[in-house]
Amino acid sequence: MQEHKTTDLAEIRRKVEEVLGDAPQLLKLALENVLREHDAHADAEPGSAGRIGRQSGKVSELTAIAPLKPGGADRLRRIFKLVNGNFVGAQKVATLHDMRFVFFENDTKILFATTYDGDWDTYIDDFATKIPDLMDLLFSSVEGWPGITDPGVKDFIASHQLTADGWYVANPHLSVVDARRLQRMNDALQEFLDKVSGHVDS
């Protein structure tokens, strides 16, 4: 067992040299410590989200950067303020874990990042027919946005997407739908436990 660990450490040091041979000693030691606790295959096999992007377990990432039309950032800010981050359409979609919009370079560009369940292509067609207004509201400030019903809209989105190089998912096997079910079940379970314990404070 002792021997096995030493071999592992030698292997770790070899890898550290390979990856960070040109870095200061402090950085090398830090990486060595990280790798000693690291299990690359814990929990989720990394994969592809389909056409573009990464997938971890059931969960996928989408990061897009695009130039904005003049005044686009200002318009979007007003919309975000109005709805206070509560995108009802997005909640209905039920595959979106989160979305974030960041303006940069003097409001000339937008970064859109989202975490979602499943494959890249799978539901975009559905959104085009079920929530076209929300999709156009969010993206029509982007330069060149063809409109959500355009047959080329998927190619447009993919052309602005960048696959993440590093990405971490806490619960890769829990979809949004799973998490909502677990929440409901826990509420019911707690209520049940309250009742059987006979100490319900009404």
């Binding site: 292509d121 799978t122 079920k130 019903t149 799973d178 079910r181």
Partner: protein, 458 residues
């Protein structure tokens, strides 16, 4: 149409749906296969572009259009080409590249998107599927044996004596008596209605789906035509569609053993069989006959598809996870925002092999199965969606990883959930009952496009 919709239509200048060019659309897209039916799929390779074109030219006059299918009581021929087949015709490279990626790649290359792993992986497929050799599929559908034989003679006359064409194989199909599939079920009942189509429609088909979802060149559900190959003006795709062909072997003995182990007495076994599919074997839907089979209902096309799930949102009659409800959830409340009409395929599936045997518990070596044939203007993409979301996953119905009990690939420890009161019943140990033996993505051109392909004026 509500007042709001009318105003929207006025504001957006929506034109009424254009009439379908029935003379140019292959009959198979709009008309059911006969019932009962006899037929053959013939698979061919073009060894030279000239040979391929010559064959298409010979076949073209025999391919039935939707305009003369309505009163037809004879055999008909349908043809479809793979992307490899289009390439073998030496078409312009830009035109070849303008077809959608899934069709260009071919089904075997898309195995990951289709989740065709393990026993379903392309490495296990029968020749010529997945080899790039299959260029043309010719299907003969017939209502009786005599006209089938006559059509086969006609077809073989077209193949015979053409240099540069090889027949790779042919496969007879048909199910007698009663058109039952190899698990003993009446099938092909619930097909979508196509807006502007001329085939008879049946109660329960729901709102007709926009023609552009099934035929290239017409507005789809989003109000605009789907992407077409070639220039929009004078597109080679116009009035054509895509075909998903998947040959399945069915393990009838394993299916029977599963029913025997988990269904209890004879009635319980039949009920479990119905719960897996959503219909009794006669075709009677559980939604209308929840307690016991009703063969009269099953055979009545005016009634056997005339239901919704609005009063069964809990799935007590029809389990959410059963094959039929997964493949067409109708008005079920789904966990994921989904436009059901975007994921419909017109099915022209054909069964082969000896009839179903309820007493079969050990494999008898007979080849029983089904050619799944699905058609739409984006059939490859729809098939990939279905395989990922509706067949091999349960997220859309809040059933986590549970899979389709009939065509899903079941991992060890897989379950099937039967909603019951007070608590659901979960059946453990469900296995895969269908194994993929091969498949192809095909393009079924309009008749004018077929003649253009034959003359290399594409």
């Amino acid at each position: 149409m509500s007042i709001l919709d009318k105003v929207k239509a006025l504001v957006h200048h929506e034109a009424p749906a254009p009439a379908l060019e029935l003379h140019d659309i292959q009959a198979t897209i709009l008309f059911d296969r006969p019932d009962p039916y006899f037929g053959t799929h013939v698979l061919l390779r073009f060894d030279s572009a000239a040979g391929g074109r010559a064959l298409l030219a010979r076949l073209a006059p025999h391919v039935r259009s939707a305009a003369d299918a309505a009163d037809n009581a004879e055999a008909w021929i349908a043809v479809a080409l793979s992307h490899a087949g289009l390439r073998a015709l030496d078409l312009d490279a830009a035109l070849l590249d303008s077809f959608p990626a899934a069709f260009r790649d071919g089904m075997a290359q898309r195995a990951e998107r289709l989740q065709d792993y393990g026993p379903n992986a392309p490495e296990t497929w029968e020749a010529p599927y997945g080899s790039g050799q299959l260029h043309l599929a010719v299907s003969i559908f017939a209502p009786d044996e005599t006209s089938w034989r006559a059509a086969m003679v006609t077809a073989h006359e077209q193949f015979a004596g053409i240099a540069g064409v090889t027949v790779l194989g042919s496969h007879d199909f048909g199910a007698q008596p009663d058109s039952r599939n190899s698990f003993g079920y009446r099938d092909n009942i619930g097909n979508p209605a196509v807006e502007g189509g001329t085939a008879p429609t049946w109660p329960g088909q729901g709102r007709p789906v926009k023609a552009g979802e099934f035929i290239l060149g017409y507005p789809g559900e989003a109000g605009v035509p789907l992407a077409q190959p070639g220039p929009v003006q004078d597109s080679i795709g116009r009035n054509g569609t895509y075909v998903v062909l998947r040959k399945y072997h069915t393990d009838v003995a394993a299916f029977n053993r599963f029913l025997r182990e988990h269904g209890g007495d004879a009635h319980g076994q039949e009920l479990l069989a119905a719960k897996l599919v959503g219909r009794w074997r006669s075709g009677a839907p559980l939604a209308l006959a929840p307690e016991r089979d009703d063969p009269e209902l099953g055979a009545d096309r005016q009634r056997n598809n005339d239901f919704t799930y609005s009063k069964d949102q809990e799935g007590l009659r029809v389990p959410h996870g059963c094959h039929m409800r997964r493949m067409n959830p109708r008005d079920s409340k789904l966990a994921i925002l989904t436009d059901v009409n975007l994921h419909r395929l017109i099915r022209r599936s054909t069964t082969f092999g000896p009839p179903y045997r309820p007493d079969l518990f050990e494999d008898d070596g007979a080849e029983r199965g089904l050619f799944f044939i699905g058609l739409s203007a984006k059939a490859p993409e729809t098939m990939e969606f279905m395989q990922q979301e509706w067949i091999n996953h349960g997220n859309f119905i809040d059933l986590a990883d549970e899979r389709d009990p009939i065509v899903g690939q079941q991992p060890d420890g897989a379950t099937f959930t039967l909603p019951e009161r007070p608590v659901r019943r979960r059946i453990h140990g469900i296995q895969s009952f269908c194994t993929l033996r091969g498949g192809e993505y095909l393009f079924m051109p309009g008749l004018r496009a077929l003649r253009r392909l034959a003359g290399n004026q594409a």
